[in-house]
């Protein structure tokens, strides 16, 4: 039985071996790059298709209804139907719109969403680009997508779109800080920015429990904060104010139809998978098996299994939580998440310097619980809603 874990790596080397004689060195290098890129361009869009149908069926089941079951068996050809619909629909460009920026916005969004996958370790030595500053690359390219969101909103000269774009950019910028700082805690403990090394640091086992960071007090708090910030960064449900259908129709992609609209959705889901992938790499032990006995399942299978469980978690929160108002959104980010993340850094430092043993569980755990109780209650439990103040535009 060929080594299932390294099957793709061996496949690539075998293919390169075949082309050894035919192509020159530079062409060979190009082919090797393509061989590691093309699978990503195929796997994640199909995951996007599967995820749209799982999301709609999951939300349906949560609301005691079936969800799409007309197209194909149990509705599993629905993504194909959506895709064809998106391709057939006419692509309108409003007359007053700024053509170039209107076209460029979804393209940049999809490009940044795809380039982010270059550093994501999908399986044991299955990472496209092993940068030693991989995490920084991830956040740098992720931050560039805010600008594309703004371009989309501004290019259409439409009040609602601009409102949605400003809300989206404000939200993404203010939730980037908890996202980055919660991953800094992991960097502090592992001492490296390279994602494969972070995953290697989590591959040992402690008794039957794996040494994943999520099973440490600062790791668990970091994981929760990371996931909340990821939810906000991808503009998903409790934080989907930018495209709040009820208030401002569809936010920044209001004037996009046809294929550009499908590009926006593709970019949204791809960035969601990328951030979930990062969450898995940092806190859930990337491609490591949870228990020593389950090593026979290949490493990339573990990565995708965890990715799908995280996706179900996102769908679950989308089905449950109502949308946050803009000021609640900002309050949560600046008054709860950022202080909490800074305290999480202190907890990680405490964990590192108190050395192994039960003591460090007690100290960092207690610090986090006290911080949570102290930070959480006073500002979110107050019953008196302040007097409504009006501010008129000058």
């Amino acid at each position: 039985m060929p080594d299932l874990d390294q099957i793709f790596v061996n496949l690539k080397h075998w293919l390169l071996g075949q082309l050894e004689g035919i192509l020159s060195a530079s062409w060979l290098e190009l082919v090797s790059i393509l061989l590691s890129l093309v699978p990503i361009l195929i796997v994640f869009p199909t995951l996007f298709a599967i995820m749209t149908i799982m999301e709609r069926k999951g939300l349906g089941r949560i609301q005691n209804r079936y969800g799409p079951n007309r197209v194909g068996p149990f509705g599993f050809l629905q993504p194909a139907a959506d895709g064809i619909k998106a391709l057939i629909k006419e692509d309108l460009v409003p007359r007053a719109a700024d053509k170039v920026v209107h076209l460029l916005a979804p393209v940049i969004l999809v490009v940044t969403a795809f380039t982010v996958y270059a550093v994501l370790p999908i399986g044991r030595n299955m990472v496209v680009l092993d940068l030693d500053a991989g995490l920084l690359f991830f956040f740098a390219v992720g931050a560039a997508s805010d600008l594309a969101v703004f371009m989309a909103g501004w290019a259409i000269r439409n009040k609602y779109a601009l409102l949605g774009a400003m809300r989206a950019v404000a939200q993404m910028v203010s939730y980037e800080i908890p996202l980055i700082l919660s991953s800094v805690a992991v960097v502090m403990i592992t001492g490296t920015l390279s994602l494969p090394e972070i995953v290697m640091a989590q591959s040992t086992h402690f008794g039957f429990l794996p040494d994943w960071f999520v099973f440490t007090p600062w790791g668990f708090a970091g994981f929760l904060l990371f996931m909340i910030a990821a939810n906000a960064e991808a503009n998903r449900s409790p934080f989907d104010l930018p495209e709040g259908e009820s208030e401002i129709i569809a936010g920044y992609f209001i004037e996009y139809s046809g294929f550009k609209f499908a590009l926006f959705f593709l970019a949204e889901y791809l960035s969601l998978f990328a951030i979930c992938g990062l969450g898995i790499t940092l806190f859930l032990g990337g491609w490591n098996a949870p228990f020593a006995g389950l090593e026979f399942i290949p490493s990339w299978a573990w990565f995708f299994l965890k990715l799908i469980t995280l996706m179900c978690l996102f769908i679950w929160t989308r089905g449950t939580l109502p949308r946050l108002r803009q000021d609640q959104l900002m309050n949560l980010a600046w008054k709860f998440m950022i202080p909490m993340v800074l305290i999480n850094l202190v907890a990680a430092a405490l964990w590192h310097f108190t050395g192994p043993g039960f003591m460090r569980w007690l100290t960092s755990g207690a610090l986090l619980i006290v911080a949570h109780l102290f930070l959480g209650n006073p500002q979110f439990e107050r019953k008196d809603i302040g007097k409504r103040t009006y501010r008129f535009a000058e």
Binding site: R61, N64, R65, Y66, W316, T317, T320, G376
Partner: protein, 209 residues
């Protein structure tokens, strides 16, 4: 504790999600074309004309009295009386509608025409799959499309059908009683007339002196 409410909410949706796979009655959706939810007793869509017997045009109860045409709020009924008369179920000679059109796109199924009709001839149907491609002519139904048998009416409006049949039976009985009374009166009148002529023959002299 911040977040306790969220956990409660998530537990609730999880219960819904798992429950929908476990207990069937949670999922109340009716898959429309295949399954159909049962019609309630007095569901009503658009009016139709009731006819007795088997020939729709001859058995039409409608006597073109045009009360429903006048009473209809959106004015969607159009009746043209026939020139000749024919005998209705009570034996009287009555008109019948030459044309009886209802514009379904205008009708608001308010059932006023049914209430004002003195002859129980127009009732409300429950067929709702009437979508047609032709927006104007397709929804203007004439006399032939409107006519439906009494059995059809009894099938989906049993109580109303029974009530209207009872009223009709009373009418028929009254009409027959009146007819019988007329026959007797005529017979008595004929008898009186005969008796008077007999009496006139036996005593013609005094009258002339």
């Amino acid at each position: 504790m911040l977040g306790a409410g969220i956990i409660k909410g998530m537990a609730e949706t999880a219960r819904n999600f798992l429950g929908s796979y476990v207990s069937a009655e949670r999922l109340t959706t009716v898959q429309y074309p295949e399954e159909r939810s049962p019609q309630i007793e007095n569901a009503r869509q658009f009016p139709f004309l009731v006819f007795d017997g088997d020939d729709p045009m001859k058995g039409l109860r409608c006597v073109a009295c045009q009360i429903c045409e006048k009473e209809c709020p959106p004015k969607c009924i159009y009746i043209v009386k026939s020139k000749d008369k024919r005998v209705d179920y009570k034996g009287q000679a009555q008109f019948y509608p030459a044309t009886f059109d209802i514009d379904l796109s205008v009708c608001m199924s308010c059932q006023i025409c049914v209430e004002v009709c003195p002859f129980e001839s127009i009732k409300m149907d429950t067929a709702y799959e009437l979508s047609t491609a032709d927006r104007f002519g397709g929804l203007l139904v004439n006399k032939h499309q409107l006519a439906k048998s009494n059995e059809h009416y009894r099938k989906f409006h049993p109580t109303d059908a029974a009530a209207s049949d009872g009223a009709l039976a009373v009418e028929v009985a009254k009409a027959q009683a009146k007819a019988k009374a007329d026959v007797e009166a005529k017979a008595k009148a004929a008898a009186d007339a005969k008796a008077k002529t007999a009496a006139a023959q036996s005593t013609p002299a005094p009258a002339t002196a």
